[in-house]
């Protein structure tokens, strides 16, 4: 399989793996260096640069459209232009970091709590397919308020209930948005 064919077949997990293969060593190297206070900024900049690099490599796999030669541009022209501009921009950011002109990364707050709510949201969305939007989102609201230390019973019940009612009447009945009902209840609706 040639390089171009390989690039053409890059999938989303493959792209993610490519990014991780570069970022993990970068992260380890800078974590052990005196630039650890700037690790977040370095990783964000290098990740964006890696994405740009990946996009640049993938431009070689774009199919050439015949008869467009006189246009002077192809599908690869503009992405490459952005990449060519990205490289010096990222270098300037790195220079600012390495010359200590940037402020160090801010301290972490309750990242665990934010991560927990994010995970709960992901689970809630995955569950749409099985138990439907209404139950899943109501459970999400209840559990996320609980996790954020809300213990008022009336609030814990009324907010999810009100939310479900609002979604039904506003989005389904008025706006005709077909919210997922879930496999378990599909036969009652269709």
């Amino acid at each position: 399989m040639g390089f171009v064919e390989f690039l053409r077949g890059v999938s989303a997990p493959g792209a993610l793996l490519f990014i991780l293969l570069i970022q993990v060593p970068v992260g380890i190297v800078f974590y052990r260096s005196r630039y650890r206070p700037y690790l977040g900024q370095i990783l964000v900049t290098s990740t964006i640069l890696t994405v740009a690099l990946l996009f640049y490599l993938m431009t070689f796999s774009f199919q050439k459209v015949h008869g467009m030669g006189a246009s002077r541009t192809t599908a690869a022209t503009v992405p490459r232009l952005w990449v060519y501009l990205m490289i010096p921009s990222a270098v300037v950011v790195f220079m600012g970091i390495f010359k200590n002109k940037e402020k160090p990364d801010p301290p972490f707050g309750r990242v665990g709590l934010a991560g927990t709510l994010l995970l709960m949201l992901v689970v809630s969305i995955v569950l749409y397919r099985y138990i439907g939007f209404y139950i899943s989102s109501a459970l999400f609201l209840f559990s996320s308020m609980w996790v954020m230390k809300n213990r008022q019973p009336l609030t814990l019940i009324l907010i999810p209930a009100g939310w479900v009612a609002m979604c039904y009447f506003l989005f389904v009945r008025l706006l005709w948005v077909p919210l997922p009902v879930g496999a378990l209840f599909a036969r009652w609706f269709y």
């Binding site: 792209a15 996009f55 599908a75 503009v78 999400f140 954020m148």
Partner: protein
């Protein structure tokens, strides 16, 4: 004189309970539609289109344009209160509206947004009435290179948006531009960066990205700071609304931004979003307190809202004068016109003047009604900021999900929203401004299509041989370089003083 007569005739059609009721319903529907993330102005107008089937053509257009007008203000409500712009054009409003809200000045932010929106809309309507035909000719005279230069001019606002973080802002805008290249190439149809995912053939949807970058990232940032027991309400007190003299201080900002917004709105594809970025940039450069922009400047809110509301008038210029829609919502309005057997274009002015001038008159009334409803409902909208964080943040998360889903009824958009929420959170955390990312995404397609069309027409020289294109290019270069030299001059002056 004929113009005044026609306008009075148009106004006479609207005198009565039913027309005022229709306008009021349109304004309320527009505000609500604009406020809900995921419901765009074009969607709100499209949703009401079937209801106009049995109405007279004038009343149908009056209702739909009232929705269009009010939706732009509606988007600013959620932009100010929860940093989740309800419409793309309200993105810029959130730059200063939300910080104002965080400082306990929600009333100030909403009041300035409302009044700027109303007066911007009124000024846009006046320009539409007086200059629609000549302005439409200007829009026709723009070739692809001019459109590209207009997009380039929009991109130079990154220098202002970035402020002290201009280096990271450059990286951010280029990131947005790269994201925008995902999907089918608009010129050749080549698949780019789709990674085998069918949903990426059209690239990422804009609204879910917007909701993720602004709303979700803000939620995660707030949750990081959350302390149960010492529950921080978003605002301890909600400030009163501005006084008349506070609005008077903003008069020149509103007028300048409204004129700019109307002029940019006449170019098909440009729209309120680009208008608001450029107007914001202009006002920041002209302001005596530019350092306040991005931290809660009323002038910033006024610039954003006046320009995006006046762009409604601008978007109607090519629609009515030439039959070319100036925006997505204007394209839906063409459907309304055709549904009522009307052909948009120059003949509409001569064959159906009562419809056109009735529409113009209704825009004045719609803006006035919006002022009344906005003032009446303002304290209600502001109450959102008093909701405890452990209820508000989960609700915003839930709203973001359904808002993203409502765009194309696709769970892929929901995942997009979530993904960009995490990306936005990380970017914000480490000092990368989010506005340039949105700027890149908004302008990327316009820039690319017109750049390549211009190259096809005649190569690189095309950008510099047409006078308008050259002037726009020079303005763009000056926009980028002037702040750089000013900052250098200020640093030298500081060194000399020391």
């Amino acid at each position: 004189m004929e113009l005044v007569t026609n306008l009075l005739n148009g106004l006479s059609i609207l005198v009565g309970f039913q027309p005022i009721l229709i306008i009021t319903i349109g304004v309320i529907a527009g505000i609500l539609g604009g406020a809900i993330p995921g419901i765009s102005p074009s969607m709100a107008v499209a949703l009401f289109l079937p209801f106009t089937f049995n109405m007279s053509p004038t009343m149908a257009l009056v209702l739909l344009v009232a929705i269009y007008t009010a939706a732009n203000f509606g988007g600013s409500i959620t932009a100010v209160t929860i940093n989740s712009p309800g419409t793309p054009s309200a993105v810029v409003t959130s730059f200063d509206g939300y910080p104002l809200s965080q400082q306990g000045k929600t009333g100030t932010a909403l009041g300035v947004a409302l009044v700027s929106s109303v007066f911007g809309g009124l000024l846009g309507t006046v320009i539409l009435i007086l200059f629609s035909v000549p302005l439409a000719k200007v829009a026709l005279s723009f070739w692809p290179q001019e459109y590209f230069m207009l997009a380039l001019m929009g991109m130079t606002t990154v220098a202002t948006l970035g402020g002290a973080n201009w280096k990271k802002a450059m990286v951010a805008v280029l990131f947005g531009l790269l994201i925008n290249t995902m999907g089918l190439d608009p010129i050749t149809g080549t698949m780019r960066y789709t990674f085998g995912v069918i949903y990426l053939f059209d690239g990422f949807s804009f609204i879910p990205i917007l909701i993720g970058l602004f709303a979700l990232s803000e939620v995660f940032s707030k949750i990081e700071l959350f302390r149960p027991g010492a529950e921080i309400k978003a605002n301890v007190t909600v400030s009163g609304w501005p006084r008349v003299r506070d609005y008077w201080k903003l008069k020149f900002s509103i007028i300048r931004s409204a004129i700019l917004g109307t002029l940019i709105g006449i170019f098909p594809g440009a729209g309120g979003t680009i208008a608001s970025f450029i107007a914001y940039d202009m006002e920041k450069r002209l302001s005596k307190t530019p350092e306040m922009f991005g931290k809660g400047s009323s002038q910033g809110v006024a610039a954003a809202e006046a320009s995006n509301s006046s762009s409604v008038g601008g978007a109607l210029v090519p629609l009515l004068a030439l039959g070319i829609p100036g925006s997505a919502t204007a394209a839906v309005l063409i459907g309304a016109l055709m549904m009522h057997d009307l052909a948009p274009g120059p003949e509409l002015f001569t064959k159906n003047p009562e419809i056109v001038y009735g529409l113009f008159a209704s825009m004045f009334i719609a803006n006035a009604v919006m002022l009344v409803i906005g003032l009446a409902g303002g304290r209600l909208w502001a109450k959102v900021t008093e909701i405890p964080q452990n209820i508000l943040q989960p609700l915003i998360l839930a709203f973001s999900v359904i808002g993203s889903f409502a765009v194309k009824y696709s769970l892929f958009d929901v995942w997009t929203c979530l993904g960009f929420g995490v990306v936005g959170w990380l970017l914000k955390r480490f000092g990368f401004p989010l506005a340039p990312v949105v700027l890149g995404i908004v302008l990327g397609r316009i820039a690319e299509i017109n750049f390549r069309q211009a190259m096809m027409l005649g190569g690189p020289s095309m950008f510099f041989t047409r006078p308008i294109s050259l002037v726009l290019f020079l303005i763009s270069v000056a926009s980028l370089l002037v702040p750089f030299f000013q900052a250098r001059k200020a640093r030298r002056a500081k060194k000399v003083k020391q």
